[in-house]
């Protein structure tokens, strides 16, 4: 284990290197590019023994990895924003054909207008693509979650691709101290990739046959059941990670652990700023806490409702819009997760931080005040925005 100062992007690249990936296929796109540039350097310098394929599009990046993963190679790529959108149909192939490709997504806004800066619009557009998805809060988590992603995705009981989301610029381009495990330590945590039925001339298999109506529904149901059941390995993977490296992760995190009357809910790097706001309010004696979601798919229903049960008000901050819909996608998910609970908090939805717009500690404090006010007045609307001019 060594402690180094690393940009979030380099932390992602280091994790892929330590995992000893076999094939990388990537296309440059801001703010992801530093990840694959670093990997290309590693391959060029012989620090990583992998095939690095400079493809002509993100669609081909992920398509290359379908083939590589299907012959039994450990695979990695990274993308962002429009790149993730261009991959859209390929995402469904990777999850439905159970090819455990690991992908870092440096979250970026979607055009138009063109914006290379961060928000969660790209992630929300691929919410239902069948990948396991986690959101990192900082560079350490990026590195840790990528290593964990290989462990979980490649598990025979799982065999799903995994997306590790890191906020574009707010994580990808920020240098922080990161603890990096040695390869030997990782080898004990991460077994070699062993795909059960690879494309192998000695054992011919047919992959990707089409499903007539008599079969398609069952295939999809089986996929859904398998993704839900992957939760067991997801949790075990974090336990093993804690045992191997000493850092613990969970599907959601509650700060303080006993909860609070008013909870702010965030996902991704803004959770760290939100926590400063919560701490500031707690110092003033207000009963406020922070609930952050790390595991986005499969959605952590149990953990979320357990953490939110005793709260009176839940203020949810979203970094994307569901146009013409019920507001923030995270708020929407949380509301439906809580709907069948006997005890549930009042939910207030806020949207902000779009296209790289910062949300300050002060604005999070304002969000909490306004959220409490909305609940007290009983005027729960669809959502409100924060830091956006009318």
């Amino acid at each position: 284990m060594r402690r180094v100062a690393l940009e979030g992007s380099f932390a992602a690249a280091e994790a892929a290197r330590i995992a000893d990936v076999d094939v990388i296929a990537a296309y440059p796109i801001t703010p992801q590019t530093h990840i694959v540039e670093r990997l290309a350097e590693m391959v060029a310098d012989g620090e990583l023994d992998a095939e690095y394929i400079d493809v002509e599009s993100e669609h081909s990046a992920l398509s290359c990895l379908l083939g590589a993963s299907a012959v039994g190679a450990r695979t990695f790529t990274a993308t962002a924003g429009q790149g993730l959108e261009l991959m859209h149909e390929v995402l469904y192939i990777a999850s439905s054909m159970r090819l455990p490709i690991i992908m870092a997504v440096a979250n970026r806004a979607l055009s138009a207008p063109l914006s290379v800066w961060g928000d969660h619009s790209d992630a929300m557009a691929v919410r239902d693509s069948g990948w396991i998805q986690v959101f990192a809060e900082n560079s350490q988590e990026v590195s840790d979650l990528i290593l964990w992603a290989f462990r979980v995705g490649e598990d025979r009981k799982v065999l799903f691709p995994v997306m590790v989301h890191l906020d574009g610029f707010h994580i990808s381009h920020v240098t922080e101290p990161v603890l990096l495990p040695d390869k030997e330590e990782v080898d004990r945590f991460l077994p070699p990739y062993c795909y059960p039925l690879p494309l192998d001339p000695d054992r011919p298999v047919t992959m990707g046959a089409y499903g007539p109506p008599e079969i398609y529904s069952e295939a999809k149901k089986a996929q859904e059941v398998a993704l839900r059941e992957s939760k067991e390995v997801i949790l075990r993977g974090w336990e093993e990670f804690r045992d191997a490296f000493g850092r613990s992760y969970s599907p959601v995190e509650l700060h303080p652990p006993q909860g609070a009357k008013t909870l702010l809910l965030t996902m991704g790097s803004f959770s760290e700023t939100a926590q400063l706001a919560v701490d500031q309010k707690r110092r003033k004696g207000e009963d406020v806490g922070l609930l952050s979601i790390r595991l986005w798919r499969p959605f952590p229903f149990e953990e979320l409702s357990g953490a939110a049960r005793d709260a009176h008000t839940l203020i949810i901050f979203d970094r994307s819009i569901s146009f013409g819909g019920p507001g923030g996608p995270v708020a929407c998910e949380v509301k439906s997760a809580l709907y069948s609970e006997q005890r549930r908090p009042k939910v207030v939805s806020f949207i902000g931080g779009l296209g790289g717009r910062d949300v300050s500690q002060k604005e999070f404090e304002q969000m909490i005040d306004r959220g409490v006010e909305i609940v007290e007045k009983g005027s729960l609307g669809m959502y409100e925005t924060i830091g956006i001019r009318d």
Partner: protein
Amino acid sequence: MEEKLVKFGRQSVSTREYFAPGHRACVGCGEALAVRLALKALGENVVIATATGCIEIISSCLPQTSWRVPWIHTLFENTAAVTSGIEAGFKALQRKEELPSKRIYCVAMAGDGGTSDIGIQALSGALERGHDFLYLCYDNEAYMNTGIQRSSATPYGAFTTTAPPGKLSIGQITWKKNMVAIVAAHDIPYVATACPSYPFDLIDKVRKGAEIKGPAYVHILSPCPTGWRYSTEQTIEIGKLAVETGIFPLYEVEEGKYKMNVDRPELKPIREYLELQGRFRHLPDEEIEKIQQRVEKEYHKVKDKCGV
């Protein structure tokens, strides 16, 4: 099944079938025949990636398969990319001694739409990167799987459901995209044309393309009775006429060197090829003459490149 080699003149062909019968291809399908011959040429040390299209649909209805070799289908436009990944995967795993070292042919198969339209970007990328793979384009000159819609490979004057002849149109108003020239412009080691009406030539070219290190491309004209509107027993005859009239010359480009494989002293009139097919039935004489002139011009362009 035990493998036997049957001799035909100087060539031998395996009796083993790697493309199992019982698939759902139309009677007289030129593409299914080409696949069968190509697989005989490739043998069992192969991995195939196929685009969405006729071949995928007729061979892979869950839970059945016609593929006796490892086969993968994912999407329509990404076959060359998937095959790139297969090749890179084997390369990495063999270098890292995670798999035994042996040559496995990585072969992409797609139709004309999957090659010259929606898949051309992925194909160009894979050719430029220089992967060791063979790409087989089965060209039946339209989107036959979805019901005869025009592609950029549809010949001038042909009827399709999306470029139908009418009071204001003769049907397809553009000339067939020259995919072979586009691929050859990538300066890859091997490019060829083939047709199942010339089975030994096809087998030779598929073998050669697979053996050569680096990218190889074989463009296979695959007559389609359903879409071309001809009688199902005429597939071989139509393919022969395509070559004999010069509308589809058989040639290869090896390390940049062009070679004509079938060169008749005199081309048959294009009318003989067109009049057997319902898709050209509506064409007036002046259009047929226009096609005749174009065919001759294009044929001689190829001959000039061959230096004959």
